[in-house]
Symmetry: C2
Subunit: 463 residues, 2 copies
C-alpha cells in the first residue's frame, strides 16, 4: 500500500480522554475512532490488525477440530427466560423491543442459542463429540466504558461450545481449548498465562482465565515465574490424543498462577521466594467446563449406546478478539508508539523515502515495493512529500516491526538501511539483501516460532 492512497489519519496530539497506552496509541495511529461511548469504528489499519487476529483464532480453532459457524447479534428473550438468565443478567445486557413489542437482546454470549441449535438437530451419541464456535460482535452495556477497545460496549469475541457424552470427554474438550488458546496467543507474540479463576455468571466448576502481564491490567495476579519459561514453540499437537492434551495442560497449570479472586497465600508461600511474583494482568480469554448447567434445563439430551437419554456435558470458551488488539499494544509499545509482533502486524515492512521526488530514490523505493510484494509481503510505502523526521515519527507510531529507509546518499553507495522497530538497530545493505532479509523473517521456519507467518492469500490481500 502506498501511504498517499491509504487512509491513515494519525493524530499529533494525545487525545485527552485516553487514559492508557493502547487507547492513546490506537487513536493516535489512526486505528480507531470513537463512534459513541464504548463503541468504535475500526479505521483501515485497525481493521487489518483485527482481521489478522481473527484469522489466527480461526486457524487454531480449525486445527483443534472445532467447527466455525455464525450466530446473529440479536437474540430473542424467550431462550434466556428458558435458561433463567434473562432476569439474572442485570443491566449490562442491552434489552431491545422490536416493532411488534417482542423482547429481544443484543447477545453478550451465546450459551442459550447454541444449546437451542444443538437440541434441534442432535439426538445421538454418534454425533458427538462436537465443538461449534463463532466470532461475532457482542454487546455489554458497561456503565462506564473506558480504556478504548479494552473495555468497550460493542466488542468482537470468539466463543465456542463443546458438547460431549460425559465428563471425561468434556474435560478433553476443555484441555483441547487450553492448548489451542496457548498456541493462539503465542502466534500473536503474547505470553498469556492460564490462571485458575472464578466462573461468574457463566457458571461451572472448572475455569481458567488467560492473562497477559501488563501494568494497566485490571486484575492483580500472583504467579510462579517458572511459568514464563514455558513455550509450545513448534510442538505438533494431536488434538485427538487425550493424554497428550492433558499433559500439556498439566505442564501449564502446575506452576502457581492465580488471579486475586482465587489467590491462596498459603499455597503461594510454597513457591521459592525468588520465583514468587505479583503483577497486573489483562484477561484475554477464558475457558469453562460447566457440565449440564444449560443442557439440563433446556433439554439438550442425546441417546447413548444403551438407549438411555442423557443431558450432554458442555463447556464454553472465549477469546476477546477486539480486546486483544489493545492487549497486544499494552504488552508491546514504547514512548514512540506501537511495536507490533510479526504475527499480527498490519504491514510487514515500512519503506521510507527520504527524498520524495528524487528520481533515484523514487525508483529504488518502487523497486523495493515491487520486490517485497512479489515475495508475498505487504509493505507500506510512505511516498508522501514530508520531512524525513515526520516520516520516521509516523513509522515509529504505527509500529511496523521492520523499516527500510532509502535516501540519495545511501543509494550512491548502493545501500539502504534496514531498521528493527523493537531494538532500534539499523544495518546498511543492498536493496536486494534487505528484501531477502525481510522475506526470511516472515518465512515459515521451524525452531521456536512464537508466531507463524500467514499464507499469502486472497484473505490477506483484502486486509
Amino acid at each position: 500500500m502506498r501511504l498517499s492512497r491509504y487512509f491513515l489519519p494519525v493524530l499529533k496530539e494525545t487525545p485527552a480522554e485516553a487514559q492508557i497506552a493502547s487507547h492513546r496509541l490506537m487513536l493516535r495511529a489512526g486505528m480507531i475512532k470513537q463512534a459513541s461511548a464504548g463503541i468504535y469504528s475500526w479505521l483501515p489499519m485497525g481493521f487489518k490488525v483485527l482481521k489478522k487476529i481473527e484469522a489466527i483464532v480461526h486457524e487454531e480453532q480449525i486445527r483443534a477440530g472445532h467447527i466455525p459457524m455464525l450466530m446473529p447479534t440479536l437474540q430473542s428473550a424467550d431462550l434466556w427466560r428458558e435458561s433463567g438468565r434473562y432476569d439474572d443478567y442485570g443491566e449490562e445486557m442491552l434489552r431491545i423491543t422490536d416493532r411488534h413489542g417482542r423482547d429481544m437482546l443484543y447477545g453478550p454470549t451465546n450459551e442459550e442459542l447454541i444449546t437451542d441449535i444443538f437440541r434441534a438437530h442432535v439426538g445421538s451419541y454418534k454425533d458427538l463429540p462436537l465443538t461449534l464456535y463463532h466470532i461475532q460482535w457482542k454487546f455489554r452495556d458497561e456503565i462506564r466504558p473506558r480504556f478504548g477497545v479494552m473495555r468497550g460496549r460493542e466488542f468482537y469475541m470468539k466463543d465456542g461450545y463443546n458438547f460431549d457424552i460425559d465428563r471425561d470427554a468434556a474435560i478433553h474438550a476443555y484441555n483441547r481449548h487450553m492448548v489451542s488458546y496457548l498456541r493462539t496467543y503465542e502466534r500473536m507474540g503474547l505470553k498469556a498465562i492460564p490462571m485458575r479463576a472464578d466462573s461468574g455468571p457463566i457458571g461451572g466448576e472448572d475455569t481458567h482465565e488467560f492473562l497477559v502481564l501488563a501494568d494497566t491490567g485490571e486484575s492483580e495476579v500472583f504467579y510462579d515465574s517458572a511459568i514464563l519459561d514455558l513455550t509450545l514453540g513448534d510442538r505438533q499437537v494431536n488434538y485427538d490424543d487425550r493424554a497428550e492434551c492433558a499433559a500439556i495442560v498439566k505442564e501449564w497449570t502446575t506452576p502457581y498462577a492465580r488471579t486475586d479472586e482465587t489467590h491462596d497465600e498459603a499455597i503461594f508461600a510454597q513457591v521459592p521466594e525468588a520465583r514468587r511474583k505479583s503483577s497486573r494482568g489483562i484477561e484475554v480469554g477464558q475457558i469453562f467446563y460447566f457440565g449440564t448447567k444449560y443442557s439440563d434445563p433446556m433439554g439438550a439430551v442425546v441417546t447413548n449406546d444403551k438407549g438411555e437419554r442423557l443431558p450432554v456435558h458442555m463447556g464454553s470458551h472465549g477469546i476477546g478478539v477486539s480486546r486483544l488488539v489493545g492487549a497486544i499494544i499494552e504488552a508491546s509499545h514504547d514512548e514512540n508508539g506501537i511495536i507490533w509482533p510479526e504475527g499480527v502486524t498490519p504491514f510487514h515492512c515500512g519503506i521510507v523515502n527520504l527524498k520524495q521526488g528524487d528520481p533515484e530514490a523514487d525508483a529504488a523505493c518502487a523497486g523495493l515495493y515491487k520486490a517485497l510484494t512479489e515475495k508475498g509481503l505487504d509493505p507500506l510505502y510512505d511516498d508522501r512529500e514530508e520531512r524525513a523526521g515526520a516520516k520516521f515519527a509516523t513509522m515509529d507510531l504505527i509500529g511496523l516491526p521492520w523499516r527500510i529507509t532509502v535516501g540519495p546518499r545511501g543509494l550512491k553507495s548502493g545501500v539502504v538501511e534496514l531498521t528493527c522497530r523493537r531494538t532500534g538497530t539499523s544495518e546498511e545493505m543492498s536493496p536486494e539483501a534487505a528484501v531477502a532479509r525481510v522475506a526470511r523473517i516472515y518465512a515459515p521456519h521451524h525452531g521456536a516460532p512464537h508466531w507463524e507467518p500467514m499464507a499469502k492469500s486472497s484473505f490477506h490481500t483484502w486486509l
Copy 2:
C-alpha cells in the same frame, strides 16, 4: 472435511414455513436455522458460503482501489438527527435505548457515520479521491420478514462510500463501482443486470440496481435480451482510467433494462420485439451518486487547490452479502437441491463411498481425499455408514458441483465415477484422472472465467 466429523444437519422434510426454493433448500441442506423472526444462525456449511461470497466482494473492492474498514452495528441517534433521517426513517429502523437512556439504533446503513469519520479527519483535496467500505451486519425491522435470508431483519451487507472533489470525479467512482460489481457477480456465477432505479430514502440523482433474473424475484423487470450476452470475462480493468470505466458502464447501460419503478413503455417499444423481455428479478446490489446531500448538512468539506472550502461529492454503494446466498440458490437449483457455481461452492468436490467399511473402498476414498487436499482443494468425504441412495440424495441436496463416487465394483476395474451436478453426466476414470480433472476445473485459467478460484489460503482453511 469428513462428514462424520462435520455438523451438517440436513432435513428430510420440507419445512412448512418456507415459501421459496432458496429458503427451503437452505433449511433442508442444514445451512441456516431461524433464531427468531427474520434472524438466522448460519450453520457451518451456510457460514462457509457466506464467507466465500464475502471474500469475493472484498477482493473485487480492493482491486478497484477501495479501502476496507469496519463501522459498528449500533449507532448514536445524534448523527441521524443531524442528517435529518432519524425521524424520516420509519419503523424499519430498530431504535434502542441504552442503560443511561441515550437513543441509539441498529444501523440500517452508514452514510452518517462515515461522513462523521470523513469530516473529522480529512480537510484537503489532496486526500481525495477516497473510497471507504465495510462489510457489517445491519438491521431492518421488517414488518413481515420472509423468504429466509432474502428478506431477513439482521442481514450482512457491504456498503461503500466515495468522497470526491467534484461531480466528474464522483461519477468516475460511480462507474468504478459498477464495473467492480459486475466482476463480483460474474465470479459468483451470476448474471446480474444493472437497471436504472429509483433512489428511495438514500436520495440522489443517479442510481442503478443490480438484478438477478429469477421467478421468485420481488421486482418486475423489463430488458433487452442483448444485455444477457455481455460479459467481462477476464478483461483486465485499469480502475484509475476514467475513460475505460465509463466505456464499460456505457456498454452495460445502453441496452434497455429497467425495473417497474422506472419502466418506460415508449422507450421499451423501440427494442426489437424478439429481444423485448420481461421477467422477475432479485435485487442484489445498488449504487448511488448523491452529490452533497450528506456533506452539505454535515459539513464534510475540503479545501481545494485555490483555498476554497467545498462540500465533497459522495455516493454510496451496496451489495447484499447474506442475500446473495439466497439469490444464487434461486438462480441455480433443481428439484433435487442446490447447484453451486464453482466460485462459491462450500466444498470443491464430494466423495461418496458406496461401501463404507470395505477396506479397498475406504482406502481409495482416503487416497482421493488426500490427493485433492494436497492440490489445495477442499473435498467433503461422505464417510458415514449410510445407503448409497441416502448419500447421493445428500450430495444432490447440498449441491457440490462435482462428485467422485467410489465403489468396490468400479475399483476392480480401477475406476471411480466423476459426476457433474449441473448436467448429471457421469464419466468413469482412474482416481488419478478424477483428481487431475477436478484440479483443472478449479485452476486459474484465462479464457472466460465467470468465476475465479480463490487462492489456497489460510483464509480458506477456516471456512
